[in-house]
């Protein structure tokens, strides 16, 4: 059984935020005006947050690139009144934008704060529309959106593999963030396929998951930074 998942090695992450921007570019994520940003209405399916400990000069800082955890037991989907957010049989938690009624219940239910709401319709200058990715729909106002594990890429990969009459290979389907990370901190693949790197990495002694105690069973694993 395929279970797509991600392992992020915090020991390799330099907090450069390339993953963040790669995601924005791949998934047509709009920017908002300064005023809106001040209000806390920016959208970033992948967000690199920094944890700082101690004070100068005894400071330490770790970066947590944070996509949707694609929980195996996602609290967000249970509460959606119209099943506009669901978990696929391959463990990808998706959104159905045209069905979402925008109640934001799922956003409140998600402990990881990775659901983003379109308070207004997205604004693209006419010229900017040219760099929109045709594989990914532009979300309308009033709906919730979040990281999809770049699901559209899986569909493409599947088609290509089928066209070439072969099995799907590990590197056929890589999300934009994993693909771009300059230090290879983000590894993506099938957690249940022993030949995939994630399967081996998730057994690493440094492994941990965010808020594991909540029982959400995230499919995004982190490898703690070495001392």
């Amino acid at each position: 059984m395929t279970r797509w998942g991600m392992v992020i090695d915090l020991d390799r992450c330099t907090g450069c935020a390339a993953c963040e921007v790669a995601c924005k570019s791949e998934n047509n994520i709009p920017t908002v005006s300064p005023e809106q940003a001040e209000m806390g209405r920016t959208i970033a399916w992948m967000k690199v947050t920094a944890h700082v400990e101690g004070e100068f000069p005894h400071t330490a800082m770790h970066f947590y690139p944070r996509p949707c955890m694609h929980c195996d037991n996602p609290p967000c989907i249970k509460v959606c009144p119209v099943e506009a957010t669901y978990i696929s049989d391959e463990g990808v938690v998706g959104q159905i934008y045209p069905r979402c009624i925008g109640c934001r219940y799922c956003a409140n239910a998600c402990p990881y704060l990775v659901k983003y709401f379109n308070w207004y319709g997205p604004e693209w200058a006419e010229s900017e529309r040219q760099h929109l990715n045709p594989d990914v729909s532009v979300r309308s106002k009033g709906v919730i959106e979040k990281c999809t594990f770049c699901h559209h890429r899986l569909q493409h990969a599947r088609e290509d593999a089928r066209a070439e009459g072969r099995e799907l290979r590990e590197d056929d389907y890589q999300p934009a963030c994993a693909e771009i990370c300059p230090t290879g901190a983000i590894v993506f693949g099938d957690l249940d396929d022993p030949t995939h790197r994630v399967a081996e990495l998730k057994e690493d002694p440094r492994v941990m998951r965010l808020m594991e105690d909540l029982g959400t069973q995230p499919k995004v694993y982190y490898l703690r930074a070495r001392g």
Binding site: G40, A84, I101, P111, W119, K141, L214
Partner: protein, 448 residues
């Protein structure tokens, strides 16, 4: 008032004369107030138009402050709606005689307020145009859907429960012929007060008053569960179901009291809303203020002892943090003021209960606020929480419109149905004998 109507009215027995007057006689004050309320309501409608046109961005909501005024009002109004039905049902079932005067006004509140409560979550939707998806793509695991169902049921039940006991009165109006004969002939569905009809009526009311109680309880339990079913700090709590029901009844009683005081003044019903009523309801208020404290204390103590960091952030945010003011105002409104006023008989007067009730209503609104907002802006993932929520004028406008809209409809309703149940009052007077016996039976020393 037209002469012939006047004549007819004067021709009626005393109860009818007093209680039907408002249906045919309307003061200027009424129109003035109504006009103001209409204005406020229309303003709110305009605000909503803007919100739908431009998006929820027009509100002060944000991430993680996903929910605000609308959800607060939702919980608040549905709470108020427990005024009538539940209380009048309980009183009916327990055959409390003094209920007779107050049930009608209470049930009226219920029916009207449910509507206004129920539209709140729809106002809160990012895509109201898709609200029907709730039916087309219903997903029964979602507490929101449980709400849709139980509120739907509740509304139907309450409407029937308001209507059935009203039939005899409608018949009375029909027969008095003082107002819209066609309308009342239709509404009275040929009720003539024959023993059979009378018996059927009593049966139905009996059954209904039993049925509505569990429904009413379910409604507010489920609303509590909307929050409790998430993993959010200070939402994820088993006490929320009962806590919400209790709070609902509490605010309900307060609402009735306010309504009664006003009606009493406006329509000179001193003969019906007697001090005894205020005294009794005052006592209930007292009981509930204590209950409220008990529940609240239990809830916070549990959170505090758990000491789970996520919980504690919200906990302190409420007690000492940015939400300290609304929190302690709430404690004053829901506990201190009603307790001090209702504990002393000398202040269980109409005025005293009025003050207490207003305090309670405000307090209960603040309680909803203290439940919804502090948790929203203190998510478990605190690292990048924005943590502030300032409602926009749009939200305030829509909230005021909801209040004014409700009062407006209530006022208008009093122009169509007697706000005190005439036939029940009468029945009461006749039943004195039987009641005395009943009382004697369970108070007499010699049991059978």
């Amino acid at each position: 008032m037209r002469e012939d109507v006047k004549a007819k009215l004067d021709g009626l027995p005393p109860d009818e004369r007093v209680l039907l007057r408002p249906l045919v006689e309307t003061s200027r004050g009424f129109y003035v107030v109504a006009a103001i309320l209409v204005a406020v309501t229309l303003w709110g409608v305009f605000a909503y138009y803007l919100q739908v046109r431009h998006g929820l961005g027009r509100t002060g909501l944000n991430r993680p402050g996903y929910w605000g005024i609308y959800i607060i009002c939702f919980v608040f109004f549905i709470g108020i709606s427990h005024a009538g039905t539940l209380i009048s049902a309980i009183l009916r079932v327990s055959k409390a005689e003094w209920r007779r005067a107050i049930t009608r006004s209470a049930e009226l509140i219920t029916v009207l307020v449910i509507g206004f409560g129920a539209i709140q979550p729809i106002i809160d939707l990012g895509r109201p145009d898709r609200v029907l998806n709730v039916l087309f793509h219903a997903q029964l695991r979602s507490p929101l859907l449980w709400d849709v169902i139980s509120i739907g049921l509740y509304f139907t039940a309450c409407t029937i429960y308001l209507y059935v006991p009203m039939i005899p009165d409608l018949a009375i109006i029909r027969d008095s012929g003082i107002k819209a004969p066609r309308l009342y002939r239709f509404l009275a569905i040929g009720y003539r007060g024959t023993p059979v009809q009378r018996w059927r009526l009593e049966r139905t009311i009996g059954v209904l008053s039993i049925v509505v109680i569990p429904i009413a309880v379910s409604v507010h339990t489920v609303i509590g569960w909307i929050f409790a079913m998430t993993l959010r700090p200070m939402w994820h709590s088993t006490i929320f179901g009962p806590y919400f029901v209790m709070g609902a009844i509490y605010s309900g009683i307060a609402a009735i009291l306010i309504a009664m005081v006003i009606l009493r003044k406006a329509y000179g019903l001193e003969g019906y809303f007697k001090d005894i009523h205020f005294d009794y309801l005052g006592r209930m208020l007292l009981v509930f203020s204590v209950l409220w404290f008990y529940f609240t204390f239990a809830e916070y103590l549990t959170a505090f002892y758990g000491g789970e960091p996520g919980e504690m952030r919200t906990f302190w945010a409420k007690l000492t943090g940015p939400f300290a003011i609304p929190f302690w105002l709430m404690v004053a409104g829901c506990f201190v003021i009603p307790l001090t006023l209702m504990a002393r008989p000398s202040t269980r007067t109409p005025r005293g209960t009025l003050i207490a009730s207003i305090a309670v209503v405000i307090g209960m609104w603040l309680e909803r606020y203290n439940i919804v907002v502090p948790t929203s802006v203190n998510p478990r993932w605190e690292v990048e929480s924005i943590g502030h929520y300032l409602p926009s004028w749009i939200e305030f406008s829509i909230m005021s419109a909801t209040f004014s809209g409700f009062v407006l409809l209530y006022m208008v309703a009093t122009k169509f149905v007697p706000i005190v149940s005439i036939w029940e009052i009468k029945e009461g007077r006749e039943a004195v004998q039987e009641v005395a016996e009943r009382v004697a039976r369970y108070s007499s020393s010699t049991g059978f």
